[in-house]
Amino acid sequence: MMHNLLKRRRRNSLGVLILVGLFLVALIWPAYQWTQANVKSMAGRHDSRLSPVILIPGSSATQNRFDRLVTQLNKADKQRHSLIKLTVKTDGTIKSSGTLRPRDNEPFIVVGFENNKDGYSNIQKQARWFSLAFKQLAHRYQFNNFKAIGHSNGGLVYTYFFEHYFTREDITVKKLMTIGSPYNFSEANLSHKTQMLADFIKYRDRLPKKLAVFSVAGTENYDSDGLVPARSVEAGKYVYQGQVKHYTEVTVTGDNAQHSDLPQNKQIVSLIQEYILDSKKKTPTKALMGAN
């Protein structure tokens, strides 16, 4: 009787094993399809030549904030970069306008927010909204690298985004330019660190290691651009210096050095052209590719 019982057990076990084996065999085909699709999409992103410039405006500014900057850059760069604008609503839905021109590998993409108010809690929200927009952009345009520009609070949104949301290994951020970004808000005295600056410093080791950062300050007089203290812009070094590949501080003065005028400032336009945009040397290869 013992023997029979054991026999039955063995038969049961074998039944389970065969079932599991069949299950495994049934999985081969879906697994094959998944890996083919996955590798194809990875290869697509890897081969992509698209390298957009993604811009975030400051508080109280909309997705149209950089229109004049893009016009000036197109004129200076002698090519027509596409301009795509996204607005993220407070509920996370995204509205977009503008299209990518064919053969344009360096479009400008502006991401604005329905709630564009000032303050640390709003910046945290905006960083989350930006991460939603970024996810959509990465999916739609399949780029593997991008350049970042943030004006005023836009630079703070970027900093928060890089420290808390940007974890993609298949996309690198090459350069970040923050223009008149008040890392210590309106606090001119660096011994009074705001909560935001303290948090930025706390999580600074999460910043992308290969990023080149340019922090541009404007000054009307010796210590402010009329709105943001130069000292507050300078506080960016406590966040970025030593964490990223390069950290460069630039101060511009003269015409249009007032805080809100900075994106139109001629000096800054040429700084963007020189440091952020891909160098023109690539154009011949691009033409060659086009001939193929």
Partner: protein, 441 residues
């Protein structure tokens, strides 16, 4: 060949029987088996959590679950909780069991000893905090803390043996007698707790926790970033040995971390649209992860198949059947604790040998350019034989080698399973004999 397999088994069984019958071995084995139900429930919860409810999990990926299952991103929370609390309390259960069974073996109050063992473990693992929160050291709790937990439990058991009084009389419910028993155990409990607090303080003082964690991290980093073939095999051997002893080896964080060599390989393959000539073909990822871990560390999927095909032992069949599904998705906990494989000298050889042989077969095939090294991402919890197939973008040779490796592993495990069975059988007969003579087993 001078001697047959049967003769070899006949020669080895008495020696193994002697090991089995030492009190300490029996304490350890019972303790490990006590953790089995917790590990089993935790493993089932874990495979649901990892393969179905994690976006990058195997079943979730291939069936695109995150796109059509409603409320998908919230579903994993209850399973996170269940997995963590069952698997992370395994060490506490082990400390309880080790102290209890040790005290019982020497006729002491096993109930109090067990509870004292569990509390002693918590005292040792307590982290004297900067914050106000109560915090325990993750290295000592959880599945990787099994060995230290058993050690702590045994020490508590020894204290009960030395300083306690025999509590052999059948349970009496009279209050004075209960009190009497309690006071008899008070001395070993006090000594044990003071000792545990002392050890905990010393560990905190010298920051040995941080140190051990950092060393492990360093070791893992060196091990996974190495792309020297020989080093890969040596590290795999070390990992397997440490896992068998209940510790975390250098390759434990499987498929999670992206090592520099993996990234380099992937980029090369993407640029050249082929994975054949990648710079680092023989790494922990391309060999160990791809071909050495079917059913979790130690190729335990092979042992399960071996048991189902040819075991005569009733308990083996039950454990193997329950462990099959977790093992399919590379969770080896149920087999490690249910059979148990953990600390088992019989299974030590195939546990280490089978993965290494499989890796060699794969390395040879890669060297012959029969298949490309695996460079593409593989979802979490992919069944062992499919890992290399997916990681090579669906290369059929990889699937064949995966299946071949499984067959080889079954053949490697077979004689050792027979030996284990023969030992069990001999032990069973012996206990029957002892029962007949009226002796206490």
């Amino acid at each position: 060949m001078g001697i047959s397999e049967q003769q070899l088994i006949n020669r080895l069984v008495p020696a193994l029987l002697r090991i089995r019958q030492t009190k300490i071995y029996r304490v350890i084995q019972r303790t490990v088996m006590l953790t089995f139900p917790f590990v089993l429930i935790g493993s089932f919860s874990q495979i649901i959590q990892v393969t179905l409810l994690t976006k990058t999990g195997f079943l979730a990926s291939i069936f695109h679950l995150s796109t059509w299952v409603p409320y998908y991103k919230y579903l994993h929370y209850p399973f996170d909780n269940l997995t963590n609390l069952t698997l992370d309390s395994v060490a506490i259960v082990a400390a309880f069991g080790a102290a209890k069974y040790y005290a019982k073996a020497y006729h002491r109050d096993d109930q109090l000893a067990g509870i004292s063992g569990a509390i002693a473990l918590l005292l040792v693992a307590y982290q004297y905090p900067d914050q106000t929160q109560v915090d325990f050291n993750p290295v000592l709790l959880g599945t990787n803390g099994l060995t230290s937990a058993i050690l702590i439990g045994v020490v508590i058991g020894i204290l009960f043996r030395w300083f306690g009084r025999p509590a052999d009389v059948p349970r009496q419910s009279h209050t004075t007698q209960i009190l009497d028993r309690t006071f008899a155990s008070l001395l070993p409990m006090t000594i044990g707790f003071l000792l545990a607090v002392g050890v905990g303080l010393v560990l905190n003082w010298f920051m040995l926790f941080d140190y051990s964690e950092q060393t492990l991290d360093q070791l893992q980093k060196i091990a996974t970033s190495s792309h020297n073939g020989l080093m890969t095999f040596a590290m795999a051997g070390l990992t397997l040995l440490m896992e068998l002893l209940g510790l975390a080896g250098p390759f434990q964080q499987r498929l999670l971390a992206n090592t520099p060599s993996m990234t380099t390989n992937l980029n090369y393959a993407l640029s050249h649209h082929s994975a054949y000539h990648v710079p680092y073909p023989y790494t922990s990822h391309t060999l160990y992860d791809a071909f050495g871990t079917f059913g979790g560390t130690g190729m335990l999927l092979a042992l399960i198949i071996t048991i189902i095909i040819s075991s005569h032992n009733h308990n083996y069949h039950v454990v193997a059947r329950w462990s099959l599904v977790p093992a399919l998705f590379n969770s080896n906990g149920p087999m490690m604790t249910g059979l148990p494989v953990l600390y088992n000298p019989i299974y030590a050889i195939p546990f280490i040998l089978a993965p290494l042989v499989n890796m060699s077969v794969a390395a040879f095939a890669i060297w012959l350019k029969w298949l490309p090294p695996m460079v593409y991402p593989v979802p979490l919890g992919t069944p062992g034989p499919l890992i290399a197939f997916i990681g090579t973008n669906g290369n059929l040779v990889a699937l064949l080698i995966g299946s071949l490796d499984l067959v080889i592993s079954v053949l490697i495990y077979l004689p050792f399973m027979r030996l284990a069975e023969a030992t069990l059988h001999a032990a069973h007969e012996q206990s029957l004999r002892l029962e007949m003579t009226g002796d206490d087993a």
